[in-house]
């Protein structure tokens, strides 16, 4: 009798993640086209319009890249945590708490130098994100509580806190009853570098390099990989696995918190529910598609930023913006399936 069995491939092409992303993206465009066809829209026209309106001019390109900033930063945070084989589903909450921390500090402090002020506020955002993941981190390393559940749940808690603040203590009387905090002053707006592109994008490049160093070049990254591979090996090697997991979680949360700070200081300029439009969740897709590689997260983050700008502008021709969500999600699906075939091969074996 013959049976089909899976075998792990001896060596995996280094670019396999990239190829699976490309194939996944093609599959996603194909699925998107079918959905457009069902709605009697011409896919070629629609996609070329999306392309033109998301990267066709300095203005649209800079909007796209601005959208990419939170995706990239939160995605990097997720990838750092993944070095210890932990999943961060709480980037969304961390983004919000980062923004809340920024606003809190803004309200309660005075600085003479705007540069220093912005700098301090960005650090506050990072700290806010770390604070958000502190409880999941403690419960993880002390009690072994599954971090997927706790980080997910903190999203709801933080969202509740946000709603409370913008309807209560922080509510802006000038906002015509729209639930939002007061705008921050123009002196702390992040400067733009070209077109509408904010300085946040440079921070993003810097942090991509930082994450790459931390994950792939540093001793800490090595210790995280060993601890993630096997806690017993870590103990055997004298590596404190819990400590590495704890620090990785705080850094991961901090990256997402920084995204919230940049979003507040460069885009919304005030705390409202609009601080994040699901960036924390899309960031999971971005990180997963790239196999948790910082450079890949940067590139795919940019692409996904452009996709969501493209998605919002094609609403003007009567196509739902959800088409870009569908493409993002199907890319992940396609890429994961293709990655499977890069990792395993299927062989016929004789039954014993």
């Amino acid at each position: 009798m013959n049976n089909l069995k899976l075998f792990k491939r001896q060596s995996i092409n280094e670019l396999s993640t990239f190829y699976s992303f490309l194939i996944g993206f093609v599959i996603a465009i194909f699925i998107g086209s079918i959905i457009l066809l069902v709605q009697d829209k011409n896919p070629i026209d629609t996609f070329s319009l999306m392309l033109r309106l998301s990267v066709g001019s300095i203005n649209s390109l800079s909007s796209s890249l601005n959208k990419a900033i939170p995706l990239i930063l939160a995605g990097l945070g997720i990838s750092i945590m993944n070095s210890v084989k932990l999943w961060n589903i709480g980037a969304e909450g961390q983004i919000f708490l980062g923004a809340i921390a920024v606003n809190y500090l803004y309200i309660n402090t005075q600085f003479n130098s705007p540069t220093l002020h912005i700098f301090v506020l960005l650090i506050a955002g990072f700290a806010g994100g770390s604070l958000c993941i502190l409880i999941p981190a403690i419960t993880k390393v002390v009690f072994g509580v599954n971090e997927i559940i706790t980080t997910l749940l903190t999203n709801y808690i933080v969202f509740g806190i946000t709603i409370f603040l913008i309807n209560g203590p922080w509510k802006d009387p000038k906002s015509l009853n729209f639930p939002a905090a007061a705008y921050v002053g123009e002196e702390v707006f992040l400067p733009t570098i070209f077109g509408k592109l904010s300085l946040g994008f440079l921070i993003c490049i810097l942090f991509t390099a930082l994450a790459h160093y931390l994950k792939n070049k540093s001793v800490f990254g090595f210790e995280m990989r060993i601890a993630g591979g096997s806690a017993l090996t870590a103990v055997y090697a004298g590596i404190n696995a819990r400590q590495k997991a704890f620090i990785a979680m705080l850094i991961g949360g901090g990256f997402a918190g920084l995204a919230g700070a940049i979003e507040l200081l460069s885009q919304t300029h005030r705390v409202s529910t609009g601080i994040s439009q699901g960036f924390g969740y899309t960031a999971i897709i971005v990180a997963a598609i790239t196999g948790m590689r910082p450079l890949g997260i940067f590139l795919v983050g940019c692409l996904f930023g452009a996709l969501s700008i493209g998605g919002s502008v094609i609403q003007t021709i009567g196509v739902s913006a959800y088409i870009s969500d569908i493409i993002q999600a199907s890319t992940l699906f396609g890429a994961l399936i293709i990655q499977f075939f890069f990792t395993y091969q299927i062989k016929k074996v004789e039954n014993d």
């Binding site: 792990k8 001896q10 060596s11 995996i12 280094e14 084989k85 070049k217 540093s218 001793v219 800490f220 990254g221 090595f222 990989r225 060993i226 993630g228 591979g229 096997s230 017993l232 090996t233 870590a234 103990v235 055997y236 090697a237 004298g238 014993d352």
Partner: protein, 498 residues
Amino acid sequence: MKQYILEAKNISKSFGNVRALEDVNFYLEKGIIHGLLGENGAGKSSLMNVLSGIYQPEKGSIFVNNIKQTNLNPEYASELGIGMVHQEFRLIESFSIQDNLTLSKSNIYRDDFKNAFEKYSEIFSLSVNPEKTISELSVGEKQKIEIMKLIFNNSSIMLLDEPTAVLTPQETDQLKNSLKRLSEEDEKTIVLISHKLKEIREFTETVFVMKNGEMVAENLLTENVTDNNLIELMMGHIKKSVIDKSNKVGDAKLNIKSVEYVDKVNNYKLLDNINFEIKAGEILGIAGVSGNGQVELANIISGIQVDYSGEIFINGQDVSGKGVKSRKKLNLSYIPENRLGVGLAPGVSILDNSIVKDYFKTRRGPHLSKTKTKTYLENLINTFSIKAPDSKAEISTLSGGNMQKLLMGRELISKPEVIIASQPTRGLDVNAVEAIHNLLVDQRDGGSAILLISEDLDELFKLSNRLLVMYEGKIVKSFDINNADINNVGLAMAGVIE
């Protein structure tokens, strides 16, 4: 002719090129406790798996109540009343005791659960509420429930694969009485696999002995056979050592003084008053069936386990209270029994795994030098002739032998003064075993003090200068290798000490 409730004739079974069972005969009398004795890998578990329908033999026939059974599968075997308790528990942890016991469709006490549970709780000296979930039970209680499950499934033939391995001496005593009562009152036919002669002697009426997949003794009356006979059957003859043992021996490098380690949960001494020393250029072998404290001993010396009492000196320095890292700095290497999972981290690259011991040497500040790391691995690959084509590939892409060579190489390259090698050749092919033995002898000649923990007596006799036998957490006997007799070692391993 005697009537047998179960008879297996000329059973053969192989896995790939490995012969697990060769022409094995086995037969059971109703209402009697039979012992099945043999070293690890002798084929005892394979035979049990054939009888319970899990493995299909290539040759041979099985008769249950004189009816020939073809196509025996687990479901059908259980209908025929053959039940097996495996070495690992097969209970559903999150279910209650009652649900676990009444799970199977061949259950006979579904309607009368309460009375039956009371009756057998008494026989097994078990006092727990059947509503309790399995995960709340102690290991000993779980083992009792496992055996009770066979009774509830109406098994008349109970195959127990090393049920006492996880039990404390008191629990083993209780089990003995329970099994005796089951065989007398319920006429259960029982097969008990064990390594311990004492248990075979106390539990069983007749005994079978296996060696290398063959049945070397059938149905001996336990009371008529001597311990020496059994050991000789089990161990056979051993090749005499070919390695020169006249190398120079230096000062003591490792001293262990009255080390004790207590399992706090069961308040049970896993290590009891361990004393020994190893000199430079000496290999000290520790013989013993696994689970007699060897893993704990290795973990304590290497610093993984620090809550022991007693003293340990490495190179004359007291290391009590010191962790893994500071002991490594004293040039101690540990080759753990569990290759993949402890010694090597699965899912992590070969490159990363190669520097687990010495990564502080390949670092530059907070930075891990790529060139240094690569050179380090290349050096390992060349020195120890490891076949590792792609250093970025996961460690699990290597063969077992190459994995072990990488692990040994990593631990040995720095010429350690003290080496703990735990089961270094388990599961490897002949060539890899030879290579690993040579590595250890080279280290010995270089002046290392080596603690070799193994279950393989051939290996221990070949490599060791001296031999200690561990049994139930104690060192029960010590041999100089030139005067050591394999049968005496075997007796000590099985817990017989004159």
